[in-house]
Symmetry: C2
Subunit: 418 residues, 2 copies
C-alpha cells in the first residue's frame, strides 16, 4: 500500500481492517504496510479484537511489517537484511523499504511462541534475475536468525512474502535448515486458489508480464511452523482468499491472503528439539549450501565487476578535473588575462567532473558494502559446508555400530523375557 | 590498525601475533582489524596455536572483528547495528566501519559456548557527545541480540571495546538485562593498570585531549561472562597489558589488551538460566530503560531537526532550478538568441542547484533512516518498560502470599516431624 501510487489504497485498508476484525485470528502478520498512518488506522480498527500490536520500523520508508495479536506480545526484535537491491533502482523500491525479519515473542496459553514476519526482495524477472544472490543471502540470513533466536520457543511460526517459489533454492534451504514445515503441504484441509497460489493472474493490481511463464500464478507467500520440546503441532486447515471480494469491485491486495489453523498439543517430556551436533544432517543440505555458494559467488563477481567499473569512472572524473586544472593554469602561466578556452564549456566540464566524482564515490561505497556482505555470506556458507561434511562423516562412521545395536535387539529380547 | 594512517601498523601486528602465539589463549577476540591482509597475517601466524578462526565482514571497510580459537567454531552470526554515526563525519570513520556484533558458537570440552565480539561507536567528546543516542541504541541492540541468541548456550562470553565507562547507561543496561558479569569486578586476582583502565594517558597512539577529564585513563574494554544451566563460572584472574612492551619502542595498540582466566564447573541439574516471566525483575531496570528512552528521544529530535533543515535546503535547490528555468526561457519567449544573463554564472548556478538537490536527497535518506531506527528503538523500549512494570506489579501482588508461605514453614515443621 503506497498512497497515490497504489490504487484504492484507503478503501482496501478499510476492507482489510473489517475482514481481520470479523475473522478474529489469534495472530495476524502483515507485510507492505508502508505508511504508518495505515498501520495506525488498522491499530484503531483492531483495538478490541487485537489489543497487542507491533510495527517494525527500518530503512527509509520502513520495513512494512506489522503484527496484530490477541495474545500478549512480550518482546520484539528486528533483523535487517545486510543486502537488499540497489538504491538507484528506485522504481523497484526494495532498497528504500529496509527489508527485514521481525520477531515477536508471544505468550499463548502459557506457551512461548516466536512468530516471525518477513518480506524478501521481489523477483522482477525470473529469466534474468539480477537480485537472485540478494534473495539467497536474505534467505540465508533469515534461516540463521530463526535458528539462533528460537532457542526458548515452544512454537515457531514464520509468515510472509518470501518472493520465492516452493522449489526455489532459498525455500529449500530455509525449510531444511530450520525444520519448519510448510502449512500448504501439511494442511489436512485446503480451500482456496489452485495449488495454493497467492499471486494470481486475474489480480488487477499486478503486472501480468512478471508472472510469465506461470500462467495461473505462483505461490510465494507462506505460513511455516514447527513445535519444539513441549509441543506437537499440526495444521488443521489452510485457506487463501480467491481474488474478488463479494460486493466489492476489487480484491484486498495484490497478493491473496493466507489463513491457517494450527492445532497445538502439549507433549510432556517429549522433545523434537533438534540437537545441534548429534542429529544426522540431511545429506542433500551440502549440495544445497554449495548451490547457494555458487549464487553468492555470481553476485560477488557482479558486485566486484561493478565496483571496478565505478572505480574506472572515478579515475576518468579525476582525469577531467586535472584537465580543468591545466586549462585554468595555462592563462595564468602565460601571464595572460584572456581565457583560451570558452568559459561556459570550462564550467560545464568542471561540473561534469565533480558530479562524476561524487556519484562514483557513492556507488563505490555501495558496491564495496555489497562485496563485503557477499564475501561474509560465502565465508559462513563455506564454514557450514565443512561442518555438515564432518557431521556426515562422523555419522557414517558411527552408523554401522548403531545399526548393529538395533539389529541385535530382537535376538536379545527373548533372552531377557521371562 | 589502518595502514598508512596508524603508526607502526605492520610491526605491531607482528608483535600481537607473537604475543598471542606465545600466550596460547583458548579464545581471542579482536577489534579494529580493519585490513583483511592483517587478518590473514594473524591467521597464518596463529595457524598452529589457533586453528579455528573467523573474520566478520560488514560495512564499507569491514567490521574489524576477528576471532581466533583453539576450539572448534561450529557456527557464526553477525548483527549490524542499525545506527552508527554519519558518513560525512569521515574523519571519525565509524560509519564506514560497519559496526556490528559477531557471535561464534564454540564447542569447548563438550560445552556450548556463545562468544560475542563487538566494537561500539567511539566517544569523541564526553561533554558534548553527539553520538550518545547512537551508542545507547547500539548497546540496546547488543543486549537484545545476546538475550535472544544465547538460549542454547552453556557459557556466554562478550569481549570488546564498548566505548562506554563502567557506570555509563549502556553498560548498566547491558549488565542488568543480560545478567552478564564484569570480569574486572569479579576477578579473584587482578594484575595490570590501575582500576582496570584500558585506555591509558601514556599511550603514544591516542589523543590525550579525548581522555579529559580522566587524567589517568578510562576503562572501556570488557570481558563479560555468565554461565547458564549446566555450568557455573568464576573469573580466577584478569590482567591488562601495561603500556610499554619490553624490548620494543611502542605498545601493541592504542588500547591495553585484557586477558582473563575463567574457571568452569559442571553443575548437573543446577540451573541459573533466567526464566523469562517468573523471575523478579530488577526495579532499577525501569528507570534505566526510561533513561535510555530519554537519550533516544534526544537523538530522535536532533535527527528530525536535521531532516527538516535538509528538506528546506532541498527546497532552496529546487527554487534555484526554477530560477534557472525562467532565465533559460526568457530569451526563448522573447524570440531572441541573445542571453540577457551571463552564460558562466548561468551554468554555475545550474551546477550549484543540482549539487544542492543531490546532496540534500542523500542526507534526507540518511536522516529518514535514522529517524525510523530511533523511533523503532523507542517503541521497543516503551514495550519493555510496560512489560517490566507489569511484572513488578504482579510480583508485588504475589509477594505477600509467597512470604506467608515461607513464614508459615517453621511453624508447620514441628507438626510434620515425628
Amino acid at each position: 500500500g503506497i498512497h497515490y501510487l497504489s490504487q484504492h489504497c484507503s478503501e482496501r485498508y478499510e476492507m482489510i481492517g473489517q475482514l481481520l476484525k470479523e475473522e478474529e485470528h489469534d495472530l495476524v502478520l502483515l507485510q507492505e504496510v508502508w505508511s504508518e498512518s495505515d498501520y495506525l488506522f488498522l491499530k484503531k480498527t483492531l483495538a478490541h479484537s487485537h489489543p497487542y500490536t507491533h510495527y517494525f520500523k527500518s530503512g527509509v520508508i520502513g520495513s512494512g511489517l506489522a503484527v496484530f495479536s490477541k495474545h500478549k506480545i512480550l518482546d520484539t526484535f528486528l533483523y535487517r537484511y545486510s543486502i537488499n537491491g540497489y538504491p538507484y533502482m528506485a522504481h523497484h523500491g526494495d532498497w528504500f523499504g529496509g527489508k527485514a525479519v521481525g520477531m515477536v515473542i508471544l505468550d499463548i496459553c502459557d506457551l512461548t511462541v516466536h512468530a516471525y514476519v518477513t518480506h524478501l526482495h521481489a523477483e522482477y524477472c525470473r529469466e534474468k534475475d539480477a537480485y537472485l544472490p540478494h534473495r539467497v543471502v536474505q534467505a540465508w540470513e533469515l534461516l540463521h536468525f530463526i535458528r539462533h533466536t528460537s532457542g526458548g520457543a515452544d512454537l515457531v511460526i514464520l509468515g510472509g512474502d518470501l518472493n520465492m517459489h516452493p522449489r526455489d533454492l532459498g525455500t529449500r534451504l530455509l525449510l531444511a535448515y530450520t525444520g519448519l514445515r510448510d502449512s500448504y503441504t501439511e494442511a489436512e484441509r485446503f480451500e482456496g486458489c489452485e495449488e495454493g497460489i497467492t499471486l494470481i493472474a486475474e489480480n488487477p493490481f499486478i503486472n501480468k508480464k512478471e508472472l510469465e511463464p506461470f500462467e495461473n500464478g505462483i505461490r510465494i507467500d507462506y505460513i511455516l511452523f514447527k513445535g519444539l520440546s513441549r509441543v506437537s503441532v499440526k495444521c488443521e486447515s489452510l485457506s487463501t482468499t480467491t481474488g474478488s471480494v463479494p460486493g466489492k469491485p476489487f480484491p484486498y491486495s495484490d497478493h491473496e491472503a493466507l489463513s491457517g489453523v494450527l492445532l497445538l498439543r502439549s507433549e510432556e517430556g517429549g522433545g523434537d528439539r533438534p540437537q545441534r551436533c548429534s542429529a544426522e544432517p540431511d545429506p542433500g543440505l551440502v549440495d544445497m549450501v554449495n548451490e547457494a555458494r555458487t549464487e553468492v559467488k555470481v553476485g560477488l563477481h557482479s558486485a566486484e565487476r561493478m565496483r571496478g567499473t565505478v572505480a574506472r569512472m572515478g579515475m576518468m572524473g579525476l582525469a577531467l578535473l586535472l584537465v580543468e586544472l591545466v586549462i585554468a593554469l595555462v592563462p595564468w602561466l602565460a601571464h595572460s588575462t584572456e581565457h583560451a578556452f570558452p568559459r561556459a564549456s570550462f564550467y560545464l566540464l568542471g561540473a561534469l567532473s565533480f558530479a562524476t566524482l561524487l556519484l562514483t564515490a557513492l556507488l563505490y561505497i555501495l558496491y564495496s558494502t555489497q562485496v563485503k556482505t557477499l564475501q561474509g555470506a560465502e565465508d559462513q556458507m563455506r564454514l557450514a559446508v565443512t561442518g555438515l561434511q564432518e557431521r556426515l562423516q562422523k555419522h557414517s562412521q558411527t552408523q554401522p555400530v548403531e545399526q548393529g545395536r538395533v539389529q541385535g535387539e530382537p535376538t536379545s529380547t527373548p533372552a531377557n523375557s521371562p
